[in-house]
């Protein structure tokens, strides 16, 4: 007997949602009994706590991909540096990649620790107006593996939002791990206490990346997360010696440009490969500051400006509505 198998792939409604244990997708899940027996709906006291803590955050941007190794953390770090160049703006960078936290190294903050005060955990400051939080700061050694299942990761993400004293923040940037799983569901759920301006989705030109990114775009649509736009990293390489341009990761199916056209999503920009980017990240320096003449710097700056404009416009629209 041969029968075609297909899965009902409605996503998990969330262990604290009103549908927990009761949705179609819960059938066969080993957690179903626990979820169905638990209290329905998110804890209102918890939601109120998060709302209070995040009240002073004006704009929140999530940096997502679906695919690993495309430059999410690199982009998050540079977005933070770019926005903080305006000394009148307060910028916060939150790294919720629990297993592979790259932000401490990229921001030159390896070895830093988190201090507690009466008002909560203090972020680690790169500049006076740029604060950072990551699980990396909580490890005794940078090589310690954080081998946690979903629920424990969710707990730490909640703590990052509830217990960190961010103060007044103009831009909260959240760097995420690859995938569409616990961390992503949780951050969207917890941040519904405040509002998220939108998501920036990072990719590289090849189809193997795009196929994961399309899933991420669908995830955003499912959870009603606005998409600010897509950034295509590693988009071409210009040899500094002979000036010849090569496609190291050829866009065999049209790259991000074609995908954005097909899915009606804005393409924020394309950033070429520059070996200096990786070097700056390894050394914890801002690539934008170290290599101001690189075509990649120009691309990044244009993209950062578009994100700023989106957030400001969004804010104005919200104010009009209110």
């Amino acid at each position: 007997l041969a029968a075609q198998l297909s899965l009902s792939l409605a996503e998990c409604p969330g262990t604290s949602s009103a549908q927990a244990g009761r949705a179609a997708a819960c059938q066969g899940c080993p957690n179903q009994g626990l979820c169905a027996a638990g209290a329905a709906g998110p804890d209102p006291a918890e939601a109120a706590e998060l709302r209070a803590r995040l009240r002073a955050v004006r704009h929140t941007v999530l940096v997502l991909s679906g695919k690993g190794g495309v430059g999410k953390s690199t982009f998050s770090a540079l977005l933070a540096h770019g926005l903080a160049a305006d000394e009148t703006k307060q910028v916060a960078l939150l790294d919720i990649d629990i297993c592979g936290p790259s932000i401490p190294k990229m921001m030159g903050l390896e070895g830093e620790q988190v201090h507690q005060s009466g008002s909560g955990w203090s972020p680690v400051y790169v500049e006076e107006n740029l604060g950072v939080m990551s699980v990396g700061f909580l490890l005794s050694s940078p090589d310690d593996a954080v081998i946690w299942r979903g629920p424990k990761k969710n707990g730490l993400i909640k703590q990052f939002l509830r217990d960190v004293d961010w103060g007044e923040v103009d831009y909260l940037i959240v760097d995420t791990p690859p995938g569409t799983s616990d961390e992503h569901l949780s951050i969207v759920q917890y941040l519904s206490a405040t509002h998220i301006d939108g998501a920036v989705i990072v990719t590289t030109p090849q189809e193997v990346s795009l196929q994961d990114v399309r899933k991420e775009i669908n995830f955003c649509r499912k959870v009603k997360l606005p998409i600010i736009g897509v950034v295509e990293n590693m988009s071409g390489f210009v040899c500094p010696k002979c000036k010849n341009e090569s496609q190291i990761f050829p866009p065999t199916t049209g790259g991000a440009e074609k995908m954005c056209q097909n899915l009606n999503v804005p393409l924020l920009g394309k950033v070429p490969l520059d070996p200096q980017i990786g070097k700056s990240c390894d050394r914890g320096q801002s690539f934008l500051a170290e290599t101001p003449e690189s075509p990649a710097t120009l691309s990044y700056r244009n993209i950062i400006q578009r994100i700023q404009e989106y957030c400001e416009q969004h804010h104005l629209q919200e104010e009009k509505i209110m």
Partner: protein, 161 residues
């Protein structure tokens, strides 16, 4: 013994391909390794436990294939020259290729256990297990589920930076 009656009874060696970091070439290496071993006359299977970003089906040009059931369980998709590499991936179970698999840990764990125990792998010299980045649910569940069997070891993939 338990091993004699399970779907992994005929598998001689199981290899995990790991990284921690994303985008370094785990799936690429898993695919090339499988093809090279098959070319050298070995019987090979690939188990893709990257549930959110399954890359192997496209790399072997079988992204439009479907999985069928038989008496012993799920039949893997046969790919490569002579259709001799056995492959299982969540990619084959999606209604649409762009469907996002947005699952929390417990549901991922349940499917991984099924992939390990319910796929009729048959006789293989090597079963290569491709993993997603990180050290989380998928990795813990895969190692736990494979522990009773012939786990040869792990290959770790990185890039220079």
């Amino acid at each position: 013994t338990l091993a004699e009656r399970t779907n992994l009874a005929g598998v001689r060696h199981i290899l995990l391909v790991l990284s921690g970091k994303g985008g370094v070439g785990k799936s690429t290496l898993s695919t090339e390794l499988a093809l090279a071993l098959q070319n050298a006359g070995k019987r090979v299977g690939i188990l893709d436990v990257d549930l959110c970003g399954p890359s192997i089906p496209r790399m072997l040009r079988v992204q439009d294939s479907a999985v069928h059931q038989c008496d012993s369980g799920w039949v893997p998709v046969f790919v490569g020259q002579d259709k001799a590499i056995a492959l299982m991936s969540i990619g084959f179970l999606l209604e649409r290729p762009d469907d996002a698999v947005v699952w929390r840990g417990p549901k991922k764990n349940a499917l991984i256990k099924q992939f390990v125990t319910d796929v009729a792998w048959g006789d293989l010299d090597f079963l290569i297990v491709d993993t997603p980045p990180g050290t989380s649910d998928e990795h813990i569940s895969t190692v736990e589920a494979l522990r009773p069997y012939q786990l040869l070891g792990a290959i770790l993939v990185t890039t220079p930076q």
